[in-house]
């Protein structure tokens, strides 16, 4: 396949950045999108041009590092896949492909297609955990959890923190990401104890990072590689409103 790539190039955080056009040829339809980017970069290195910086790690859809807004959609045209799982057979010979970084005030561009997603880490640090005292390992099955609850909590736990939800949302909102963690922990007995403060603190941090509000467009869930559902956002809203009404916390 021969392709025209329009790629966002930006030297550093302060650079304005712009789209650059490159040609790649002899791309196999069996290559993953990232392998195609590797081919582009080898070619750029030979031409003495700085290669395109992009995030990636596992290349098997589990780490959430690969980002890239491809042809107007996070992770490209396929549903429920990350960019590393996207194959070139999803494109046609002669196509022009635009490749941009995630766009959000809370995800500043570091270089080219690499964005700083530590705002997500700070949301998790604000309450996306269960506090435990160290000590002996609890016995297996000591806390009974119905299978249906465990399954639902697991579905929420499959979020890989990639940020496609933010990238897809017209408001650059992080509600799907934040709600997945709030919902996962609120469903399980271990997480229930801290459910109220967690909802309050994580939402406050999400707002402090400058992510937008939710308009319930559903773009996040439609583009999420792990198909995290909108039910998580509804659950977060319930948790948050009831926490606000009932918690003793007057300074949040």
């Amino acid at each position: 396949m021969n392709l025209t790539l329009k790629v966002w190039r930006q030297k550093n955080q302060n650079d304005k950045g712009k789209m650059e056009t490159y040609q790649v040829s002899d791309i196999s339809p069996d290559m993953s999108f990232l392998e195609m980017m590797d081919v582009l970069n080898e070619q750029l290195i030979k031409e003495d041009i700085e290669p395109v910086h992009f995030d990636h790690d596992c290349r098997e859809g589990i780490c959430g590092m690969c980002s890239m807004h491809i042809n107007g959609r996070p992770h490209g045209p396929q549903q429920a896949v990350t960019t590393c799982q996207l194959h070139m057979r999803s494109f046609k010979d002669g196509d022009t492909i635009t490749i941009e970084p995630w766009r959000a005030g809370a995800f500043p561009v570091v270089k080219d297609l690499v964005v700083d997603r530590t705002s997500f880490d700070r949301i998790i640090q604000a309450g996306g955990y269960v506090s435990v005292n160290t000590g002996g390992v609890p016995d297996a099955n000591e806390i009974p959890i119905p299978k249906s609850v465990a399954d639902e909590a697991f579905n929420s736990a499959t979020c890989i923190g990639c940020g496609a939800c933010v990238a897809a949302c017209k408001n650059a909102s992080a509600m799907l990401f934040t709600s997945a963690k709030i919902a996962q922990l609120a469903m399980l007995p271990q997480g229930k104890t801290e459910a109220k403060t967690r909802a309050e603190k994580m939402v406050a941090q999400m707002d402090a990072e400058g992510f937008g509000a939710c308009t319930n467009t559903g773009a996040c869930s439609a583009e999420c590689p792990k198909e995290i559902s909108l039910e998580n956002i509804a659950r977060m809203n319930r948790e948050y409103f009831s926490a606000k009404a009932k918690s003793e916390n007057t300074d949040m």
Binding site: E100, G210, A213, C214, A219, L230, N237
Partner: protein, 229 residues
């Protein structure tokens, strides 16, 4: 700042205000439509005049009407705050953004749809509400001898002009799209997303968004053709 102010200043708190005021406005639309459909009764406006007169003299209705104005205003103010806040969350926009691939057009353009509805509300109030309250309205005598303002005549006069009919019908299209997203969205905001109930909410929302605007649009169309025949 108190926790209360901070809660309603948060993204979720503002959304809660949108949803609650939105649902109130939806209920208002039902009542407003039920009342206005009396304009279609072929009795020379008698039923409508009695209805309008009763509503105007009823203290409870007058209080609800003030609350309604306040909540529309709140809906609009929070809408402006949210829309501006949300557009700031993405300071650099995409060269290529394919929203149609993952969301409906109306869900992405609630601000545009709402603004058109706002302009319509302003036109609508100045056409009728303002005239009823402060303008010169001819009087008519009911069968029991009491003289009342002939509200029907004012409406009938308005809807004999094609351009006014056009504005009303077109505005209802915008209302339909606002409701098509807004109705079900409000329940999601309130945290009501459930395998049993959400499909029903979505179905009711869809039909509400179709039937209510049609109901409103029929009135000017009917009166226009009634006048020329």
């Amino acid at each position: 700042m108190s926790w209360f102010v901070r809660t309603f200043g948060s993204t979720l708190g503002r959304k809660l205000l949108m949803a609650l005021t939105g649902i109130f406005l939806i209920l208002f639309l039902v009542v407003h439509l039920a009342g206005n459909l009396q304009l279609l009764i072929p009795d020379g406006g008698k039923s409508f005049n009695i209805y309008a007169e009763t509503m105007g003299n009823n203290t409870f209705i007058q209080i609800v009407s003030k609350v309604n104005f306040a909540l529309i205003l709140l809906h609009i103010i929070v809408a402006i705050i949210l829309t501006r806040y949300n557009s700031k969350a993405r300071p650099v926009s995409y060269e290529n953004f394919n929203g149609n691939a993952n969301s409906t057009w109306s869900s992405r353009n609630m601000g545009v749809l709402g603004s058109v509805i706002f302009i319509f509300i302003a036109i609508h109030l100045s056409n009728f509400w303002w005239v009823f309250k402060y303008g010169e309205v001819p009087t008519t005598t009911l069968e029991n001898g009491t003289a009342v303002k002939n509200y029907y005549a004012v409406v009938n006069e308005g809807f004999s002009q094609l351009w006014i009919v056009g504005i009303y019908v077109l505005s209802m299209v915008f209302l339909a799209f606002h409701l098509a997203h807004g109705f079900q969205s409000a329940f999601q905001t309130l945290g009501l997303n459930h395998k049993k109930y959400t499909p029903a909410i979505k179905a009711v929302g869809k039909w509400f968004a179709i039937l209510v605007p049609i109901g409103f649009a029929i009135i000017p169309i009917y009166m226009y053709f009634n006048n020329i025949s």
